[in-house]
Amino acid sequence: MIKEHELDKLIICKKCHTLHEKVLIAENEKAFCSECNVLLYHNDSDMLDKMLALVITASISLFVAFQFTVVSINIQGMEKSLTLTSLFMVLAEHKQYIVGIMFLFLIVIFPIVIIFATFLLLFFMKIEKAGYLTKRLLILLAHLKPWSMIDIFFISLLVAMVKLFDIANIELGVAFLAFVLTLMLDILITKSLSFHQLWEIHHQIYGSIDEE
C-alpha cells in the first residue's frame, strides 16, 4: 500500500475515472485525460485574482438581474412585466407552492449562495486567513454545484419569448441584459475555476486542517 502523500501525485478523471499520474506542466498549460480528453488540471498562477474579479462582477450583475424587470409584454395596450417579485406573487396567487419553493431555491437562493460563498472563499484564500472556513466553503460549493439552474431558466425565458412573439410586443428590460452578463460570467467562472487547483492552493497555504 502506498503512502498518503503519494496519493497526491495521482488524479482520477471526473468523466471516465481513469487514473493518471500528475506531471508538472508549465504556466498556462493544460493537462487533459488521455482517454476522454476532459480537462484534468490547469496551471494558472493568477487564478485567484482573475476569479475574484469575475465573481465580484457576477454578483453585481446577478443583483441587477433579480432586482429589475426582465421582460415586459404589451398585448393591445395591456402591459405585464416579469420581475422576481411578480413571479412569486403570481405563483402564490395560483397556489403553486411546491413549484414556487423549488423555483425559489433553484433560481434564487442557490445561485446567490454559490456566488457569495465563492467570493468569501477566494477573498479569504487571497489574504490567507480563515483556513477552516475556506475548507467548509470548498465542501459546501461541491454540494451545491448541481443545484443551480439559472442557465436553464434563461433558456426557458427564450423559449417563452419565442412563444409570445406572434401575439405580443416584447420589450427587454435591464435585468435581461444583466441575465445575459451573469450567464456569460458564470460560464467563464465554471470553466476556469478549478477546484482541483483550489484544494492544492488551500493545502499550500494552510497545510492540512483537520476537523475539530
Binding site: I11, C16, H17, L19, I98, L106, P146, L157, V159, S208
Partner: protein
C-alpha cells in the same frame, strides 16, 4: 493506468485508497464508502419515485389557459403537438427533448447502471463511467418546460386571458428533483466493484 484500487472523492476530487479501513475522504472527510448495498437501494428507491411521478406529470395538464371564462387544459404531449401544428418546429423540438427524451433517457441510463452493477454486461468500465457522467449532466435540463410555464403564467395574467400551471407542472418538477437525487446517491464504486468479480453484498 488501471483504476481498481483508487476512488475519487466526489466532493473534493482527491484520490483515495479504496479499502474497508477508512470510510471518509482523507482530505475533506466526506463520506466516501458508505455501504454499497445502501447506495444501490437508495438509488433504486428514488428512481422508482421519479418514474411514478412521471405518470401524473404526463397525464395531468401542465398548463391551463383560461380565456374569457373558458378553460382549456393541455398536457406536455398535447403542448408539443400543438406547437408542431402551429409550425414552431424548433420550440417543439426543444420541449420534446427537454421533457420527454431527457427524463426517459435518464431513467433508462440509471436502470442500465443498476443492472450492470449486479449482472455482467458487454460495456466496459470506461463506458459505464461515461454513462454515469452523462446521466449526471443532462439531469436539470428537463426543468425547461416547467420554467416556461411559470414565465408564461406571469406574463399572460390579464382579466380576460390567463395562463396558469397545472398539477402536471408540480409532478414534473418533483420528478426532476427525485431523478437528480437518484443519480447523486449512485456510488461510482458500484461500477468498479463488478469488474473486480465481487458481489457487492460481500463487501458491505
Amino acid at each position: 493506468m488501471k483504476n481498481e484500487h483508487y476512488i475519487r472523492c466526489h466532493i473534493c476530487e482527491t484520490v483515495n485508497y479504496d479499502n474497508s479501513l477508512t470510510s471518509e475522504c482523507r482530505r475533506c472527510h466526506s463520506k466516501i464508502s458508505s455501504s454499497l448495498h445502501d447506495s444501490y437501494t437508495k438509488t433504486l428507491a428514488l428512481l422508482i419515485t421519479a418514474i411514478i411521478l412521471y405518470i401524473p406529470a404526463n397525464l395531468y395538464p401542465i398548463l391551463t389557459t383560461k380565456q374569457f371564462g373558458v378553460n382549456s387544459e393541455s398536457t406536455i404531449i398535447e403542448g408539443i403537438i400543438h406547437l408542431w401544428e402551429l409550425g414552431s418546429y424548433p420550440i417543439a423540438i426543444i420541449i420534446l427533448i427537454a421533457s420527454v427524451v431527457v427524463p426517459i433517457l435518464k431513467f433508462l441510463l440509471i436502470i442500465y447502471l443498476l443492472v450492470a452493477a449486479k449482472y455482467k454486461t458487454r460495456s466496459t468500465l470506461l463506458d459505464k463511467h461515461k454513462i454515469f457522467y452523462i446521466t449526471e449532466s443532462i439531469g436539470p435540463w428537463s426543468m425547461v418546460d416547467v420554467f416556461v410555464v411559470i414565465i408564461l403564467s406571469v406574463l399572460i395574467n390579464f382579466t380576460g386571458v390567463r395562463i396558469y400551471p397545472g398539477i402536471g407542472a408540480t409532478a414534473f418538477a418533483l420528478m426532476v428533483f427525485f431523478t437528480m437525487l437518484s443519480a447523486l446517491s449512485f456510488d461510482t464504486r458500484l461500477i468498479i466493484n463488478h469488474e473486480k468479480g465481487k458481489n457487492f453484498h460481500a463487501s458491505k
